[in-house]
């Protein structure tokens, strides 16, 4: 895009700055729209599973419900508790929201459609996802209230625990792809299964770690079986208890942006990103743009997220910790050993380096 702006007669620096800002807006604004619509989808799926109608009043089929909710919180008064630590109290939702957005910089939506095609893309995602705990800790502490603080403690322990297994799972994929670059990881999946199936998930060594990744992603984004941080029967609303108006909405948007990011990650790491499912032109699906495949796969995973939310009861906290440390950590470590052993035995290592 920089060249395009340079053709307008701008110097390289200005063209670069404008192109980067345009790229950021091109990702962030549709992402906000996607979050609004995905909240609607989420509520409709729960409603369908619970045999209810879900939002159906605002707009056709209730499609504008999220925008009505957004307008409502926007017009409300922001209340800051008098005993709160003001600066951090205001900063916490901003941190949550910003961190949820910056990870999208390295996500490739299609071949070459990526803001920053960096070599350490997966490490960047991992680093950013380890930051999302700060918004929650800061919110819980700055609220100066017991329930938010308990929630913050729970959230930090939970996210640190599941990050370990997510890290090992990512290592398994990195070993197979031979690269940290997300575009390279997607391209390495082309024709991975028997030369025709695109995607690591059909590999017998990688399918179990995909299942672990899905469950860890639920824990990392604090979705339902693991939403101990906002367990309303114990902690009111968790770390968000003292928040109102836009500061509450920022937590909400950040949470859903994180869920979408996890869906995108599952698509990229295990389901071949923007590639069609099979590498043969059965129906003329090579003509379908890659970005549509990408969004369709993300939508499938999001449906699985809300399906789980509507059907599974909440874990107890000690069960959550046990699953993270005593089940997923040894299992994912075992799979790192198995995968690297298999790659050494078959001589596939370092192929894409």
């Amino acid at each position: 895009m920089t060249e395009f702006f340079q053709s307008w007669g701008l110097s390289y620096e200005w063209a670069w700055a404008i192109a980067t800002i345009a790229g950021i807006l091109l990702i962030a604004l549709p992402l906000m729209l996607a979050v609004a619509m995905i909240i609607y989808v989420d509520r409709k799926v729960w409603a369908a599973i619970n045999l209810r109608r879900g939002p159906n009043v605002v707009g056709p089929f209730g499609l504008l419900q999220s925008f009505a909710d957004g307008l409502k919180v926007f017009l409300q008064e922001t209340i800051i508790p008098s005993a709160a630590n003001k600066g951090i109290f205001i900063l916490a939702p901003i941190v949550t929201f910003t961190v949820a957005l910056i990870a999208w910089a390295v996500i490739p939506f299609d071949a070459g459609v990526v803001l920053a095609d960096i070599n350490v893309g997966l490490l960047y995602i991992f680093a950013v996802s380890s930051l999302s705990v700060y918004g929650i800790i800061m919110a819980g502490w700055a609220s100066n209230s017991k329930y938010p603080f308990f929630s913050a403690m729970r959230a930090s322990a939970q996210m640190i625990s599941y990050e370990v297994s997510i890290g090992f799972i990512m290592i398994g994929v990195i070993l197979y792809a031979g690269s940290f670059n997300l575009t390279d990881i997607v391209m390495a999946q082309k024709g991975h299964g028997l030369g025709i199936v695109n995607g690591y998930v059909f590999n017998l060594l990688l399918f179990p770690i995909f299942v672990m990744f899905f469950i860890s992603a639920l824990a990392e984004t604090q979705r339902v079986p693991f939403d101990l941080t906002e367990a309303e029967s114990e902690l009111v609303a968790g770390y968000q208890t003292e928040y109102s108006s836009m500061s509450f909405a920022l937590f909400w948007l950040g949470e859903y942006a994180n869920i979408l990011l996890m869906c995108a990650l599952m698509t990229i790491l295990f389901f071949g990103g923007w590639l069609p499912p099979l590498d043969i032109d059965l129906i003329p699906w090579f003509d379908i743009p890659g970005i549509i495949w990408f969004f369709a796969k993300m939508f499938l995973f999001f449906f699985m997220f809300s399906w789980v939310m509507a059907t599974v009861p909440r874990y107890r906290y000690d069960q959550l910790m046990r699953l993270g440390w005593k089940v997923f950590l040894p299992l994912s470590l075992l799979f790192v050993v198995l995968i690297s052993g298999w790659l050494m035995a078959t001589g596939h290592y370092g192929a894409a380096a």
Binding site: E13, W16, A17, N85, I88, I118, N119, V120, L123, Y124, F126, A127, S130, L131, V133, Y134, I137, M138, W141, F149, M153, S156, I160, E163, F180, D318, Q319, R322, A353
Partner: protein, 206 residues
């Protein structure tokens, strides 16, 4: 131009937040400033082309170590006034340490300006294998030239980890309050619930 602006932005923020770490009155604020300092240091490393180290800095220090710092500082009830009271008493010691550090810095920079020194001979060939990207280069160096040091560091960390676990491990606790997950998983509705058909006016005996 862009690099220069980015460098001065990161550098100024690193120094400013480092100053705020030691001047902030609230220890939680200090930790948050420290996190900002880590961030900007990672930005500086990206600028010099060490993106792998930068990401590791964020993952390890910001993602794990600083969270634990924050955890501990939030849980502890630190009385800043009491800590300030000990300042005058410990000031001479602090001044001595600061002077020693200053002398070492001056000596170090002076020695660096004098020229390189020969410290033994490398085990393998000095030139790393020609690979692209510094992630690959670091990997190639760690597993060839510095293999022994790398493995030794790993074993030392493992020993430290086992030591910490041994120190905090409590072998037996009271039976009450202990969860037996296997027992809970094996439980089924037949043995956990009973169906009763009480008649009107009569209670249920369990």
């Amino acid at each position: 131009m862009i690099q220069t602006i980015a460098f001065y932005l990161f550098a100024v923020l690193v120094i400013a937040s480092a100053v705020m770490v030691i001047t902030a009155r609230n220890p939680v604020h200090s930790v948050l400033w420290l996190i900002l300092a880590f961030f900007n240091a990672a930005g500086l490393m990206v600028l010099v082309g060490a993106e792998f180290i930068a990401m590791l800095l964020i993952i390890v220090y910001v993602g794990a170590v600083a969270v634990l710092f924050l955890f501990v500082v939030m849980m502890l009830d630190i009385d800043v006034a009491a800590m300030r009271a000990g300042f005058i008493k410990n000031a001479p010691l602090g001044v001595v340490i600061a002077l020693i550090l200053l002398a070492e810095l001056v000596l170090g920079i002076g020695a660096y300006r004098m020229g390189a020194i020969e410290l033994g001979t490398p085990m393998a060939s000095d030139a790393p294998a020609m690979v692209e990207g510094n992630t690959n280069a670091i990997g190639a160096l760690l597993y060839t030239k510095y293999l022994f040091l790398f493995e030794a560091a790993g074993i030392i960390l493992l020993v430290a980890m086992i030591g910490a676990i041994v120190l905090t491990h409590r072998p037996t606790r009271a039976k009450r309050g202990q969860q037996d997950i296997g027992k809970q998983v094996r439980r089924n509705p037949d043995e956990a619930t009973v169906m009763k058909q009480p008649t009107v006016g009569q209670g249920v005996e369990l």
